[in-house]
Symmetry: C2
Subunit: 216 residues, 2 copies
Amino acid sequence: MYTGVNMKVERRIGAKAIATTARRRDAAETKKAILLSARAAFARSGYDGVGLREIAQAAGVTAILVNRYFGSKDQLFSEVVASTMVNPGILSSETLAPGRKGADLSREIANALVAKTAPEAAQLDGFLILLRSASNERAASIWKENIERHYEKSLAARLPGRHAKGRAGLILALIAGFQIMRQAVGTPSLSEANPKWLIQELTALLNILVERERLE
Amino acid sequence: MYTGVNMKVERRIGAKAIATTARRRDAAETKKAILLSARAAFARSGYDGVGLREIAQAAGVTAILVNRYFGSKDQLFSEVVASTMVNPGILSSETLAPGRKGADLSREIANALVAKTAPEAAQLDGFLILLRSASNERAASIWKENIERHYEKSLAARLPGRHAKGRAGLILALIAGFQIMRQAVGTPSLSEANPKWLIQELTALLNILVERERLE
């Protein structure tokens, strides 16, 4: 009977473990659904233009649940911003592959930037969230933290030499400005320019930031 | 009596002219008040965030009068955008003074850009209107027209050599991106960087666009 009791206990523990796993899986799925709903909503309407209730509704949950999982609109926004940086459209792991150095790295960033901002390409949702939220101070501060933690760090690590952080910041500024002007505003000087010419000019600009301080 | 009649007619014409002048002056003052009210409102809340009624109220007139003077919200927005370009904060007539050429022109633009985006400097309202409106398609299209007509044209005229328009477009992209990252987002890599170093790097970048095609 000793063994029997033990088995019963084990069975009980087993059932509990399965139930916990199921709950955890449900929680993970729900969290994912909320994040996706929030990401689409923030890309469409920016930080100010969206309420937790709207995000919850689109994810099929209550606003109370969104609050329980994410704590606040700011924390949810922060997780959305971080999620857009996991697979960056331009500074992707392919663009920043360890083998690329110097002019090769500059050219790859220029290639990706021109391809992703082509007039027929959909605007990257991370960029839309930035554009539609940057004028709100709290949202801007969340962007600042995430840009520093994700983009600047990985980019600066690829820039041997002095002022790596500042050079990474200037590269990000050039990328953001080019996206705004070519895609969001759509000035013909950039949207109608020969892509090869744009890549050539952007490579030269980026190379100043990638190479110069290393050479000095 | 002939003379008397004539004098009476002249007095009448004179009175009419004065009344017309007064009305014109009133109209000009009212239009100016509406434009100022609209400029402040669009800088604060962007194209989507402002209604004609709110703008009218702040200017002390009715929405009907705003419509009579400007035709539509789009036309009013367009005139506001054009008004921000009359005395540009960065590409000012001083920065673009005819005497400045080549590296001197690049350095002056870099100087103005770093000064106007200093952490303690107020954000330029033209820039805020762009940032807070660029995600609306109609507003973006109004920006596009005005950027082309005002900034690009005057800048391209200062860039001898090939691809002047494209180079002007890239300079404007660099300016916009630097403003967003250093001032709106406030990434420390740019907001805490040594201004002299920033001017040096921006001068090198701008000089690629100002000088290179001329030299080739």
